[in-house]
Symmetry: C2
């Protein structure tokens, strides 16, 4: 017989890494509310509010906008497995870790995956990207709107326009951009967007908000092959959330309460005001980092507002710095990995965490730790 | 711009249906604790405690025992997609809804699925089941240990023994049995068991505890085809939780806190004492239902202790009864569905909810509502 556990006592962390980010106190309170069943009318009411909140944050009128009952990676798999069928041609715009994950998932679905590459930390040349799409005429095109491994922002406008010219569906990873900067799904031309709950939405991880254009839903309805995944089959999920409310799975109701509250905080602040706050604190942090003699990996204009990748100064060990921040202040930031291992820090200012006071705290702590 | 939402105010429900069940107050408290990152040493400490608690509840020494970051249906898909490869022969023992779901998932993996059927509400003849397995020599055999749609318990001993004779792997759905009755994975001969967090463990839905025998893990390591699912690929998950702690996905840490606390409540009570409590309250409820003139669908000996399926008395409308229970007491029970629609009630006594006082409450409320 195993003995029981001591009371749960998590260490206090100031989460300024690439995610998860600091959770809003009101979100914790929402998770403490009594659950109801997954077929209770109250659950569907919560789901409607989530839909409205996500539409505002994503910038879309897509009716099919909901939360997948899994983390951001489950959202990626839902996007790829529903819209990339065996034998299809998928182009992945690849300039970081999460583009590689999309590539892997596309291959697991039996697609032919072509990669249009740029070095980690750099963005794509719009004209070359469009030309590649026109030449290859893929069935689907995937890109990462906010690359958490590098800090690069890809608006996707040129990619989506070219993709639609050749009749391809567009898929965008918005895991780190949702709730922190404009995505504007509809005007950008994104057909399938997915994200997570634990970054810009200030909730714990566990849900993946997804939004699909009517065009994407038409393709889904016409799909002749069966998705290998039953759990992530959006045809079945549409029937549960939007159709006959036919039981599919037992939705993680406490996480839905959390997501609703995270979105409520966004609506109360106002979507535009929230983006402006993230932009202002982003600029303040960049200025602060530069005042410490640090150089940004990513060029101005394609920087995310929620994730910053200053280069590790020459002669400085990134692990030492991160250890000092953790030991002295309980601050978590992350380092780079893959081709950027040891070369950059990854510093997040997301949702609740994006405040001027936190920028001052971070810059002050880094000033001491870099010595 | 969407307007913001009113404060979250869920209705109070007494959850005595087939799940989700009543959440323990200490579990809600655990979910309110500060999150840490998914690579934080504290997260892995919590994960080790979850492993120990699940091993006790499942009755196993399997080292690979952990929580999938999705609901029970994600656990089912993890079990099927990792251990049932394209072209394999899978036997499903089919006497209820969740057996049908396993069948569907097996087909989506490209397996040949054979079904050994019994009517909903009945159990299998051990000798005939074993004979079928010996004759068909499948690669894998799946059964539902506790069928939530009917209330039938299938111990699986005869099925597992015959399966191992022919070298087949055994998969058991323990969604409604974990934490409420003995499963004894190791002595029963179950190679892959999965469950959920929201029934016998008294947590909200969102995680799926899974346990795999060393034999199953050997088969997984030797697997030559690639799992279509990246999110549920247990090779990758083993590398995150047990191996190099290589980042896979951002684990839903608040749900892990919840699961740890739900398991802690089991360890504090003692696994055997907990099962005895469920058995005693099960017997008390059956006696109470019979005192109201109700007849049980399932024969004694193969009844689950957590889910009860009394037949709807002649002349009684099940919807009317359920409506009265909800309106008068906030009590949620469910009706039957599929072939049992309108014919049975489904009444759960799970985890926190399995108390003598709740049995009295339920029987008293039913006595009034049946009139």
């Amino acid at each position: 017989m195993s003995s029981s556990f001591a009371p749960l006592a998590p260490p206090k962390r100031l989460l300024f890494g690439p995610g998860p980010s600091i959770v809003a106190p009101r979100v914790y309170e929402a998770m403490g509310q009594s659950i109801v069943g997954h077929l209770d009318p109250f659950f569907f009411q919560v789901n409607e509010e989530i839909r409205a909140g996500l539409q505002a944050a994503y910038g879309t009128a897509n009716p099919f906008t909901m939360a997948i009952s899994g983390t951001g990676s489950a959202g990626m798999e839902a996007a790829i497995s529903n819209f990339v069928e065996p034998g299809m041609k998928l182009i992945v715009f690849a300039n970081g870790f999460f583009c590689d994950r999309m590539t892997e998932m596309g291959r697991r679905q039996g697609a032919t995956v072509l990669r249009f590459e740029a070095p980690w930390g750099q963005s794509f040349d719009d004209a070359a990207a469009a030309e590649f799409i026109r030449a290859e005429k893929p069935n689907a095109v995937a890109f990462v709107h906010g690359e958490t491994s590098t800090g690069v922002f890809t608006s996707g406008k040129a990619i989506c326009a070219a993709a639609h010219e050749v009749g391809a569906l567009t898929i965008a990873d918005c895991v780190t951009s949702l709730g922190t900067m404009p995505i504007n799904i509809d005007t950008t031309g994104i057909d399938v967007a997915y994200s997570c709950s634990q970054k810009g939405l200030s909730c714990p991880p566990g849900l993946s908000p997804i939004s699909c254009s009517p065009r994407a839903m038409d393709q889904l309805k016409a799909r002749s092959t069966v998705n290998h995944s039953w759990y992530l089959d959006l045809k079945l999920l549409a029937d549960y959330y939007d159709g006959a409310r036919r039981y599919h799975h037992t939705a993680p109701i406490s996480m839905f309460y959390a997501l609703r509250e995270g979105l409520n905080l966004i609506l109360e602040e106002g979507v535009e005001a929230r983006f402006a706050r993230h932009e202002a604190n982003h600029e303040k942090l960049v200025a602060g980092l530069e005042s410490l003699g640090m150089e940004m990996l990513v060029e101005p204009g394609v920087r995310m507002w929620a994730l910053h990748t200053p280069k590790v100064p020459a002669g400085v060990n990134d692990l030492d710095v991160r250890k000092k921040l953790m030991e002295r202040h309980g601050i978590e930031i992350q380092g780079g990995f893959g081709p950027l291992a040891g070369q950059v820090f990854r510093i997040g200012l997301m949702g609740e965490g994006s405040t001027a006071a936190n920028v001052d705290l971070l810059v002050g702590a880094l000033r001491e730790a870099l010595v």
